[in-house]
């Protein structure tokens, strides 16, 4: 146990948080957030700074992220922005809007035959990678000492990044029709992701989150996850200069949990549409924390009363198992009512006191 505590302390976990993770009597079930789109939209509404500027300016970006921490007092925050950072750095074009995160417009390459044209981008120069790195640096310089927050930098997962580089439809087609070239692409992208992740760690991020929604069983089969996602996620986790990562895969993931938890150095899995009891059972004695799994759609659309009940159900299902933190199943949706977020957090504080 103390080894694991040491491990968590390395990331900046407070004693309180560690006790929460281990479901110690008297402690409270922790809550964390994945919030990018929500933060940027809130910051825009508050300051009038348009989203396209926030995501290109480290000072605004980190302020928009810390805003959430100040407002809701969460313990861990993954600085998630949009999932086009790597594709843009490889040359993809995005749509930039004033109130929402950028979206893919034109992929970096139109065909798998053009893979050789792709050059591995420089994290300190290309696309918005320098902004994300700078945000981690600003966190370390200005906020770290003042807050108990654990600040996660982030990278996209290899499947998610590669599919935006080639265009999702072409990528999906290529998985069936041209697996060799897809592997070549994934290999290149993985190298770039490792460099980017390490640059964020070096700049001051406490940890790294990996967002890999496109590898979920909502998109690709568990067999394809094993063949195309697993080896590259493994390589990334081995080569990042951190003892462990958070991996977020939203959508349907029950069929891949077994594979997912075999990825070395995975210490938090952020899950969406899964059966928590089964998932915790599958993990068994391994030290992997499950973060889940109230739906962001529920948080956006339901009433505070319903959200309280759903959160209570999650808490009761997990009970005193430990190795669990409350978390939305994905990025908070822009415009999620504040009272709904509060209802979720308050339910955690109210019903999440150990022993449950």
């Amino acid at each position: 146990m103390s080894l694991i505590e040491d491990f968590l302390t390395q990331f900046g976990f407070s004693q309180e948080l560690i006790e929460g993770v281990f479901a110690k009597p008297g402690a409270t079930m922790p809550a964390i957030f994945l919030a990018g789109g929500y933060n940027v939209n809130e910051y825009y509404k508050m300051t009038g700074v348009p989203a396209y500027e926030i995501v290109r300016n480290a000072r605004h970006l980190i302020k928009s992220q810390m805003n959430l921490q100040y407002k809701f007092k969460v313990d861990l925050l993954t600085c998630l922005v949009d999932l086009n950072i790597m594709s843009e750095s490889f040359g993809a074009k995005l749509y930039y809007d004033h109130d929402v995160l950028p979206m893919p417009n034109k992929p970096a390459i139109e065909s798998l035959d053009d893979i050789d044209q792709l050059e591995i981008p420089d994290p300190h120069k290309d696309g918005r990678m320098p902004v994300i790195i700078e945000a981690a640096k600003l966190y370390k310089e200005k906020y770290k000492a003042k807050s108990s927050l654990i600040y996660g930098g982030y990278i996209e997962g290899p499947i998610t990044a590669s599919s935006n580089i080639l265009g999702v439809e072409n990528f999906m087609r290529g998985l069936v029709t041209n697996p060799d070239l897809i592997h070549k692409l994934l290999d290149k992208v993985t190298t770039a992701l490792i460099e980017f992740g390490n640059a964020q760690l070096e700049a001051g991020a406490d940890a790294i989150g990996i967002a890999e929604p496109t590898a979920s069983s909502t998109c690709i089969s568990p067999d394809f996850f094993k063949e195309f996602a697993f080896p590259y996620l493994k390589k990334i986790n081995r080569k990042l200069n951190t003892p462990g990562t958070l991996i977020h895969i939203c959508g349907h993931t029950q069929p891949i949990i077994k594979q997912w938890i075999k990825i070395p150095n995975t210490f938090i899995i952020s899950v969406d549409e899964v059966d928590l009891t089964k998932t915790l059972e599958t993990i068994g004695n391994k030290f992997i924390i499950v973060a889940g799994n109230i739906s962001p759609i529920t948080l956006l659309r339901e009433t505070p009363e319903t959200i309280e009940l759903i959160t209570k159900d999650i808490i009761n299902e997990v009970g005193n198992h430990g190795k669990f933190v409350l978390c939305p199943g994905c990025d908070l949706a822009p415009g999620t009512p504040e009272e709904n977020i509060m209802a979720f957090l308050n339910a955690g504080r109210k019903y999440g006191k150990f022993p449950i």
Partner: protein
């Protein structure tokens, strides 16, 4: 029945080359093309839809099946002598403003095409005014909107409001789809149907046609 069955299987297997070869052979042999579309292509795509529903197929497999379907359909279409008016209904389809995820929409469009609908595809990131404009221009019977993301759900509501303002709402059936949509949301925004996948969209539209709710 051999060739038609083979065409169906080429679609199910996502075998583009075989689908093209069989489609050409069907034309050379002057076989019944309507039968080839309905019992070959459409029937194959229904099996694909079922396999997707049952988590046997995923997006990559569905895409290559749709490729096979499209390839064969494009070979057969020019030889199909029916008049332009010989379709079940006109459908305007698009991904709502703010969202660019169009794989699901493309697959639905291909299913509808192969099932005898005239489909006008407005693409992705389609603002409400564009939907209105297209409905008026093509005198459409059905409008189908989709989104994969939660934040853009609101756009469906806004589009329906635009339809009302332009006096179109009662003339057209509104179908919504995409991961975050459900019956409850459909009722909330006043859409007519919510479909979870391409198969359901085709069967829903077919049932509207049978009930004679359009034209």
């Amino acid at each position: 029945m051999g060739l038609i069955e083979n065409l169906k299987n080429a679609v199910i297997d996502g075998d583009v080359d075989s689908a093209a070869r069989i489609a050409n052979e069907i034309i050379d042999r002057k076989m019944d093309l309507k039968n080839a579309i309905l019992n070959g292509l459409s029937a194959g795509m229904r099996v694909v839809g079922k396999k997707y529903e049952e988590h046997e197929y995923f997006i990559p497999e569905v895409i290559v099946s749709a490729d096979a379907l499209n390839t064969a359909f494009n070979i057969i279409k020019p030889h199909f002598k029916d008049k332009d008016t010989d379709y079940k209904a006109k459908v305007i389809i698009g991904v709502v403003k703010g969202d660019i995820h169009e794989i699901g929409k493309n697959i639905v469009a291909q299913f509808l095409n192969a099932s005898g609908y005239k489909v006008i595809d407005l693409g992705r990131n389609v603002p409400p005014e564009k939907f209105v404009e297209a409905i008026e221009k093509y005198n459409a019977d059905i409008v189908a909107m989709s989104t994969l993301m939660t934040p853009t759900l609101e756009q469906m509501k806004i589009t329906i409001e635009h339809l009302k303002e332009n006096g179109l709402r009662n003339k057209i059936k509104v179908i919504i789809g995409g991961a975050p949509t459900d019956q409850e949301f459909m009722n909330e925004i006043g859409a007519d149907y919510c479909c979870k996948d391409a198969n359901e969209t085709v069967s829903t539209l077919d049932s509207i046609i049978i009930k004679n709710e359009v034209n």
